[in-house]
């Protein structure tokens, strides 16, 4: 039982990280109707920025987080302005290819700046793990522990989710986002600044990416290297589709479920088939419910 709970906690932890990444994918998709495949690499840049502030400048982790968030926000806006904005009227395929190109560009830039050696991410939060439960069975001590980084990851995920929902539903900018998401042309006619709205979406998505990158590396789910963001990025994209792309609670649910399935699959099915298991479930869900778990069915008007 304790072992099962341990897997559950770890699953929730990695799931929370996937959820924060998936939020970035889903927001950008919802508003700009494009798949930003460079998102995974913005995560990596965020983690590297935090690493630099922590390891090279020796500043407090909180400053590192702030620095990474600000850096990634600027990067996100820049990417949107330089690479995606000129393609606003282009076919979605052209935008997709541009996003893939941007992804490689960021990876190679990172390799140029920081080299391709893996780096070990410093722990951003100190303290001993809390022992929740302890039993001795056949001479083997089993403990259920909750480490500070577990708590931090899950808590940040929860807070981000609530803040984002409030932002979308209660603020003027959130309203604008919902409008642009519904119908870009009509929103423009109603006097909504569509370009600004999309830029803000990218800024928020990239800021979330920075947080996700730091949580990912600080919870030791990935060593820091220029390709750190690739696989988690793809998995989070899967999570976003799983939960219903374009839906914020969907991204959250998809991310956490994905983390749980991955970890439990690893534990009880096979540690090397875990990924196959995750993507297998995705296929089944999409076959049964093509819009994802919480996705809205889109009625095409004739």
């Amino acid at each position: 039982m304790i072992t099962f709970l341990t897997y559950l906690i770890n699953g929730l932890n990695i799931g929370s990280v996937y959820a924060v990444i998936a939020l970035g994918y889903t927001m950008v998709y919802g508003v700009a109707k494009m798949l930003n495949f460079a998102h995974g690499d913005v995560i990596m840049v965020g983690a590297f920025l935090a690493y630099c502030v922590c390891a090279y400048l020796g500043l407090h982790p909180i400053i590192a987080v702030l620095g990474a968030v600000i850096g990634c926000t600027i990067l996100g806006i820049l990417i949107e302005r330089l690479a995606y904005k000129p393609l606003r009227q282009a076919t979605s395929l052209a935008v997709l290819i541009t996003a893939i190109g941007m992804s490689y560009f960021l990876q190679n830039m990172a390799q140029l700046i920081w080299g391709s050696d893996t780096k070990s991410f410093p722990s951003i939060i100190q303290g001993d793990a809390i022992v929740l439960f302890k039993t001795v069975q056949d001479g083997v001590t089993k403990t259920l522990t909750l480490s500070p980084i577990n708590i931090l990851t899950m808590a940040s995920c929860f807070i981000i989710m609530i803040a984002l929902t409030l932002f979308i539903n209660k603020t003027k900018m959130g309203k604008a986002m919902r409008c642009v998401s519904e119908d870009k042309g009509a929103a423009e006619l109603m006097g909504i600044n569509v370009n600004l709205t999309i830029s803000v979406t990218f800024a928020i998505g990239s800021a979330l990416a920075a947080v996700a990158g730091i949580l990912l590396c600080a919870s030791n789910y990935a060593p820091l290297s220029p390709t750190t963001g690739s696989l988690p990025g793809i998995k989070a994209f899967t999570a976003a589709v799983f939960g219903g792309i374009g839906s914020i609670p969907g991204a959250m649910l998809g991310g956490i479920l994905l983390g749980l399935i991955e970890n439990l699959g690893k534990a009880y099915v096979s540690s090397e088939l875990a990924d196959a298991f995750v993507f297998g479930i995705l296929i089944v869900v999409l076959l049964v419910k093509p819009t994802g778990l919480l996705g809205k069915k889109i009625h095409e008007k004739v």
Partner: protein, 379 residues
């Protein structure tokens, strides 16, 4: 303007030809990962070889020149690097560094008749059925058996867990012989978990299984990057068994940002420990620290020994720069060296080495323990 351009161009061509082809020296080629997640291995090898080549040349006998290429540990890139180095005049290889890449190059080198002495590619597939490939490091099966032996001899643990990468020949090879030897010696393996090269960062499940099975020692026949993640995650979950690694673990102390206190007490089966007090090791370590900074790892030491072994073999077989530098000279050199390799004995810093005709080396493994961020001879 055109004239100046032509002059510059011809000068550049002449210089290029000069640097690529040293008339009176035998060129040795090395390819290995100089960038990427296995860079510590390749850099160690190149640096170690550079020091040895310098020393050998100072002796005044046979002169060596070194050419090296980055293959990122990738078989395809390694074969390209191999061909490029032959074009650049290499007469023999002191590589390739990693097993997978080395096996690919070895197949090519066997057909073309190029002599290879790899410092660090430890898989038996590298030398299998090829008379032209020799190793300086232990083979994987050797390492697995020796590890089990060491654990039992020194009474380190009764119950062990193993975490290995089953997508890697190196890792699986060591695990299999470890298991055989452990069964033979009555060492109980209580948990065996695997991971794949794509999924090599989250070990919480594997560590939980090891912990809950009551393992006192976790055997890690894996590379240093995943090993560093395991150490961090074990620390986060308050699991503190003895960790026991083999040569792939070498390099863990050099990862940027890695808190070396996490590696305190980790055992490492290796043929080289930088704190050995003999004159040869001291000299090598001192030179290495002066030139490249940091303590040399086992890869550097193996490469250093590889160059001396080549020197010994070339002397024994009377290979000269003249033979080596003729057209397709590498093929002649290859046959001459194959002849003498089983007959020579080399006193190196990784032990006294002699070779079987199959390419396998004979030397004694020792264990080091990590203490305060450095290797200390165990026992």
């Amino acid at each position: 303007m055109k004239k100046i351009f032509a002059m510059v161009l011809s000068l550049m061509l002449a210089m290029g030809a000069m640097s690529a082809f040293a008339e009176d020296a035998i060129t040795i080629g090395i390819s290995g990962p100089l960038t990427g997640p296995y860079a510590m291995y390749g850099l160690g090898v190149v640096h170690g070889a550079e020091i040895a080549v310098e020393e050998v040349n100072a002796l005044g006998g046979i002169q060596f020149a070194l050419t090296y290429e980055d293959d990122e540990g990738d078989p395809e890139k390694a074969v390209n690097a191999f061909n490029k180095m032959l074009d650049d005049g290499a007469a023999m290889m002191a590589g390739t560094v990693t097993s997978g890449a080395c096996a690919a190059v070895a197949a090519e080198a066997y057909d073309m008749r190029v002599f290879m002495l790899t410092p660090s590619a430890s898989s038996p597939t590298v030398t299998e059925d090829r008379d032209n490939v020799f190793q300086v490091c232990f083979t994987d099966p050797g390492q697995g058996a020796a590890s089990a032996d060491y654990i039992v001899q020194n009474n380190l643990a009764k119950k062990v867990a193993v975490i290995y990468n089953n997508g890697l020949d190196y890792s699986t090879g060591i695990y299999q012989t470890f298991e055989e030897k452990a069964n033979e010696l009555g060492l109980e393996i209580v948990s065996v978990t695997t991971f794949s090269s794509d999924n090599n960062a989250d070990f919480s499940v594997q560590l939980t299984k090891a912990k809950d099975s009551g393992a006192e020692l976790v055997f890690l026949p894996i590379y240093y990057t995943p090993a560093s993640m395991i150490l961090k995650q074990a620390d986060a979950m308050n699991y503190d068994p003895i960790f026991f690694g083999v040569d792939g673990m070498d390099g863990i102390l050099s990862i940027e940002g890695f808190d070396t206190s996490l590696a305190e007490g980790v055992y490492l089966l290796t043929a080289f420990s930088a704190d050995a007090q003999d004159e040869k090791t001291q000299n090598f370590v001192k030179k290495y620290e002066e030139r490249f900074g940091g303590t040399p790892n086992q890869f550097a030491a193996d490469a250093y020994d590889a160059i001396y072994a080549l020197y010994e073999a070339c002397n024994e077989a009377e290979v000269t720069a003249e033979i080596a530098n003729q057209r397709r000279g590498f093929a002649d050199v290859c046959e001459m060296l194959i002849e003498v390799m089983p007959t020579i004995t080399v006193e190196g810093i990784t032990g006294t080495m002699s070779w079987e005709a199959t390419g396998e080396v004979t030397k004694t493994p020792t264990a080091v323990i990590i203490h305060e961020g450095a290797y200390v001879g165990a026992k």
